[in-house]
């Protein structure tokens, strides 16, 4: 869905974002946003679900931005913010598993923007090497972030299953890692200031032994180092990672590994289920994961890391 808007700040940044949804069949959903920093912000919401050719969507107080009513329907709606938190109440047919997101846009800060330039993922089963291939070369100076989840066993506590990472033109360093006995591992690695690479770029993680799992690799512009990280373990249907109290402007990485017996398998065919989020911070937020089917508690390992924004020198006058 592609929309052209006038009256949007340049550069633009996310004031807040929210999401919700379910793998179970629903015909309506209500998603609340947050109180915007200022009124008049462009607020966007989107609905995706699976259905036949006949479908409809309603959302009182919102204007439709675009619609794709094919076999995989999707709708975008927009409004301008008031001083209070908005709510999008959507209904559609037929009932289906669904995803709803909302975000409000504010003026960004001049200069280079933190951004995921490219990313990709890979799965592995019974292998001692995990690989994900970025579709393009890595720009010199950019960072590369990797998140790895495996079903490797070990003693519960901080630790890593990957022994080393290569690729991307960077020297890799560990950010955060955790092992939950009998329930797998989760870890985040980063390489700062790539020397650059050309063409498809493979990131390879050497594992301590054969394992099932999932790797996500991303090239990110304007990261200069690691600010802090947190790890946690538990068993719940809605795991939440605690905040490492990042500095404003940090780039956040969060990662979750769960035992697949508790959930559907995604995206690994046989290994642990993994999930990640990242975004520049506005607040010290705590990413929340929702398990499916709901409610279902299961063992989970959560990681969260704040990566420092690279400082830029102000432009000198001519």
């Amino acid at each position: 869905m592609l929309n052209e808007f006038s009256g949007i700040p340049n550069p633009v940044a996310v004031d807040y974002n929210a999401n919700d949804g379910s793998g179970a069949a629903f015909g309506n959903w209500s998603l609340a946003g947050q109180t915007p920093q200022s009124s008049g912000e462009l607020t966007l919401t989107a609905l995706s679900f699976y259905g036949g050719s006949s479908s409809s969507v309603t959302s009182t107080g919102w204007s439709v931005g675009g619609a794709q009513s094919a076999s995989f329907p999707a709708y975008t709606c927009w409004s301008t913010s008031s001083s209070s938190a908005p709510t999008a109440s959507l209904s559609w047919s037929p009932s289906s598993s669904t995803e709803v997101t909302m975000l409000a846009l504010k003026a960004g800060t001049p200069g280079p923007q933190l951004n995921v330039v490219q990313e990709n993922q890979g799965t592995f089963a019974g292998q001692s090497v995990a690989q994900a291939t970025l579709p393009n070369g890595v720009t010199a100076g950019d960072a590369v972030v990797a998140m790895i989840g495996t079903d490797a066993n070990g003693s519960t506590g901080p630790g890593y299953d990957a022994t080393q990472l290569t690729g991307g033109g960077v020297t890799w360093q560990r950010v955060a890692g955790m092992i939950q006995a009998s329930n797998g591992t989760a870890e985040v690695w980063v390489g700062i200031s790539s020397a650059g690479s050309s063409g498809p770029t493979t990131i390879t993680a050497d594992l301590a032994g054969a394992a099932d799992g999932h790797i996500v690799a991303a090239e990110v512009a304007d990261i200069s180092g690691v600010d802090g990280s947190t790890v946690s373990l538990g068993s719940s249907s809605i795991p939440t990672s605690s905040s490492p109290t990042p500095r404003s402007g940090d780039f956040l990485v969060a990662f979750l590994t769960t035992n697949p017996s508790a959930t559907v398998t995604y995206p690994s065919q046989a290994g642990r289920r993994s999930h990640f989020r990242r975004r520049p911070t506005r607040r010290s937020d705590s990413p929340t994961y929702r398990a499916s089917p709901l409610p279902h508690s299961g063992p989970r390992t959560r990681l969260r890391a704040g990566l420092s924004h690279r400082p830029h020198s102000p432009a000198c006058p001519p």
Binding site: M1, L2, N3, E4, F5, S6, G7, I8, N10, P11, V12, V14, N19, S22, G23, G40, E41, L42, L44, A46, S48, S63, G65, G66, A67, Q68, A70, S71, F72, A74, W78, S97, T98, E99, T101, L105, Q113, N115, V116, V117, Q118, E119, N120, Q121, T123, L134, P135, N136, T258, V264, T265, Y266, P267, R273, H275, R277, Y289, R290, S292, P293
Partner: protein, 150 residues
């Protein structure tokens, strides 16, 4: 004395005319200031109006490739070229296969990733992207890996 009187009268008349000139000048200045004020207000109002987000046009595109690990390019083409200073906002959604979640692996140069969420079940992926000052742009293509439907 007379001369003095006449002179006095003459001076009084000049004073009156001068006063009129002052009043007229003040009036003209007031009108001018009012006009400037109105002009200034019009500019401010126009600027204020310009800052209010408004939808200009929209488009959609779709594609698919059910092969695990495959990549598909999805393109959306606007009816007309984007206006200078406007912003393009793209929402990409991906149907999640049971064994392969999708993600937008690459975006065109200049595009900014705003927010993405890849659920851990079969509910769809959604990602938001922006291109500021989209002058001369009419279409965008996103590269999606491990897709189901888009």
């Amino acid at each position: 004395m007379t001369v003095t009187q006449m002179s006095t009268v003459e001076r009084t008349g000049r004073r009156w005319r001068g006063c009129l000139r002052v009043v007229a000048g003040a009036l003209l200045l007031s009108i001018a200031l009012l006009a400037v004020g109105i002009l200034h207000e019009s500019v401010a109002a126009a600027a204020s109006r310009a800052r209010v987000p408004a939808l200009v046009q929209s488009a959609a595109g779709q594609g698919g490739n059910p092969t695990l690990g495959s990549t598909v390019a999805v393109t959306a083409v606007l009816p007309t070229i984007c206006n200078p200073g406007d912003t393009l906002i793209a929402m990409v959604t991906i149907g999640q296969q049971s064994s392969a979640g999708g993600l937008v692996s690459a975006v065109p140069a200049g595009w900014q990733r705003l927010f993405e969420h890849s659920p851990t079940d079969t509910s769809p992926y959604q990602g938001w992207f922006a291109l500021s000052n989209c002058s001369s742009t009419q279409s965008v293509t996103f590269s999606i890996s491990s897709p189901g439907n888009t």
